[in-house]
Amino acid sequence: MMPALTLRNVVVALLLLMLFLVPVYAAVIGNNFVLSLFTRIVILAMAATSLNLIMGYGGMVSFGHAAYLGIGGYVVGILAYEGILSGFLQWPLALLVSALIAFVIGLLSLRTRGVYFIMITLAFAQMIYYVGVSLNRYGADDGLTIYRRSQFGDLINLSNKTVFYYLCLVLLLASIYLVWRLVNSRFGMAIQGARSNDRRMHAIGFPTFRYRLTCFVIAGTICGLAGVLLANHTDFISPAVMHWTRSGDLIVMVVLGGMGSLFGPLIGTVAFLALEEWLSGITEYWQIIFGPLLLAIVLFARGGIDGLLAGIRRD
């Protein structure tokens, strides 16, 4: 099916084109900073995409999603520190640990609703944050430098910044594609039904808990992968990645772009980090503009940027 030529689709297409051309642009102007910034954008967009799966489609407002960024990163960092550099070991293990932790957190948290869910996910993320702080051997508060990125033999060299960027971009697009398939499948219908009206779901015969839990685990795993990439990108991991304000940032990215829309988190992340760059270029005190801007978005543009582009407002 040909996507319709709407303003929203055009913007998304241009955005994707731009993302593909970033390394070319960086090479032409010889500016590594742009490439680094966009690598960060792409990685965080992946984290935001995973949060959108549970928050936008599943109605599970997790205020602890940054924990998985830290978990993925710490698995890579700790293994590297202990001399295990193979990505074939690091990455699957990181995903496994993320999934397991998401399973436990989800199992316990998904019994609660509304603000209690927000708070219990925050509590678990805080626990994980303090685990990071107490990791004496691995730098505790100060974090852990990762001296060598994950090794994939001759397959791919992550130390090449352009190669690494394209890997991140491909994985981001794969995540978005995965979310697209998921939300339109039976599983996705069940998840969205549970967001919309959980009581009705039970009445028509859905045991929603298991679907919501599965969704929670999938999102945690994708975000864990983003954490793996982030640690490889910055060559560093510290508890700061998991601070609750980072979880807040992720929520902002998702809502800024448009909750429950496929490319919303990507748009939101680009907007968030671009705004950060732009505003901090204008004034050192850029958050004095950004904070009220957030407030204004909540008050006046609830569908996020995606909603504005699509010309519809969610009530």
Partner: protein, 306 residues
């Protein structure tokens, strides 16, 4: 024994600070159904105001009074400008909007006072210690925090339980329609409650600032603890917040004091010293998580709350 008494009092003092912070949060949450992440900003503002006004007036008490008035005004202004537009929105919107306010206030403080942080100097009559038990010395200042916070707690309790305003507040917490049906100027009541909550947070912040310093972001970690308190205590319940705050304060402080020794049995002293504060911080969240798993709506859910 001596150490234990001191740590117990420290825990009590910290718990009471938490209560001051949590009181406004739980009232706003209970009455307006508003999740206010920016509550920690009032805590920070109280500290900065106090440091500034004390330096300006040369009087600690004068500085504190001015700081409380200033925080009250800022709180009321925030309510009028932003918060009242958010009451009917969902909790996610609250989280986002007030997250934006945190960024704003942090940056505002950095703009006005600079990034370095400020000290609040105590007058000499507070900067001493007293003998609370035979041969047990305790900081005069910490003791006065306990006294002041207890006095505020009692006053708050009496206001909420015994006065007409308190009756309206309680009615609002359990039944929002009823209070507007009574024809009360509900907007004014909300603004007032929000402002008082902000001032209480400011009081907590300025009292803490004399022990540590006034710093940007100082409200953020303690805010999360205050949320733990109101979740454990039951949203909207002053009494629940009081019990939970003391409980959390004691766990945190006593954990920090005694976990290192416990951990030394298993770890090296250096490792124990780093791990202990982290573990005692974790302990609080663990307790909250357990409580929510067992009682998904908190320990003492307020009647009529969702």
């Amino acid at each position: 024994m001596l150490l234990f008494v001191e740590q117990f009092l420290n825990g009590l003092q910290f718990g009471l600070l938490l209560f001051l912070l949590a009181a406004g949060l739980t009232l706003v949450f209970g009455i307006m159904d508003l999740v206010n992440l920016a509550h920690g900003s009032f805590y920070m503002l109280g500290a900065y105001f106090a440091a500034t006004f004390t330096a300006l007036t040369g009087s600690f008490i004068g500085g504190v009074v001015l700081a409380l008035a200033a925080t009250l005004l800022v709180g009321m202004a925030v309510e009028v400008i932003a918060m009242r537009r958010l009451y009917r929105r969902d909790h996610l919107d609250h989280v986002l909007a007030t997250f934006g306010l945190i960024l704003f206030f942090n940056e505002l403080v950095r703009l006005i006072w600079g990034p370095a942080g400020m000290n609040l100097t105590l007058p000499s009559w507070l900067n001493t210690s007293v003998e609370i038990l035979p041969d047990v010395q305790y900081s005069m200042y910490r003791l006065s925090i306990i006294v002041v916070a207890l006095a505020v707690a009692i006053a708050l309790y009496l206001i909420v339980m015994r006065t007409r305003v308190g009756m309206l507040i309680r009615a609002g917490a359990s039944n929002r329609e009823m209070i507007s049906a009574l024809g009360i100027n509900i907007k004014l009541l909300y603004t007032f409650v929000f402002g008082v909550g902000a001032a209480l947070a400011g009081l907590a912040g300025l009292m803490q600032a004399a022990i540590l310093t006034a710093q940007i972001g100082m409200g953020e970690n303690i805010l999360i603890l205050a949320f733990v308190v109101i979740i454990i205590g039951g949203i909207g319940s002053i009494r629940g917040a009081f019990i939970a705050a003391i409980f959390v304060g004691l766990i945190d402080t006593v954990g920090r004091a005694f976990l290192p020794d416990l951990l030394k049995l298993a770890l090296s002293p250096a490792a124990a010293a780093t791990a202990a504060p982290a573990l005692s911080s974790m302990l609080i969240y663990l307790v909250m998580a357990i409580i929510l798993v067992v009682r998904p709506a908190g320990l003492f859910p307020a009647p009529g709350s969702r």
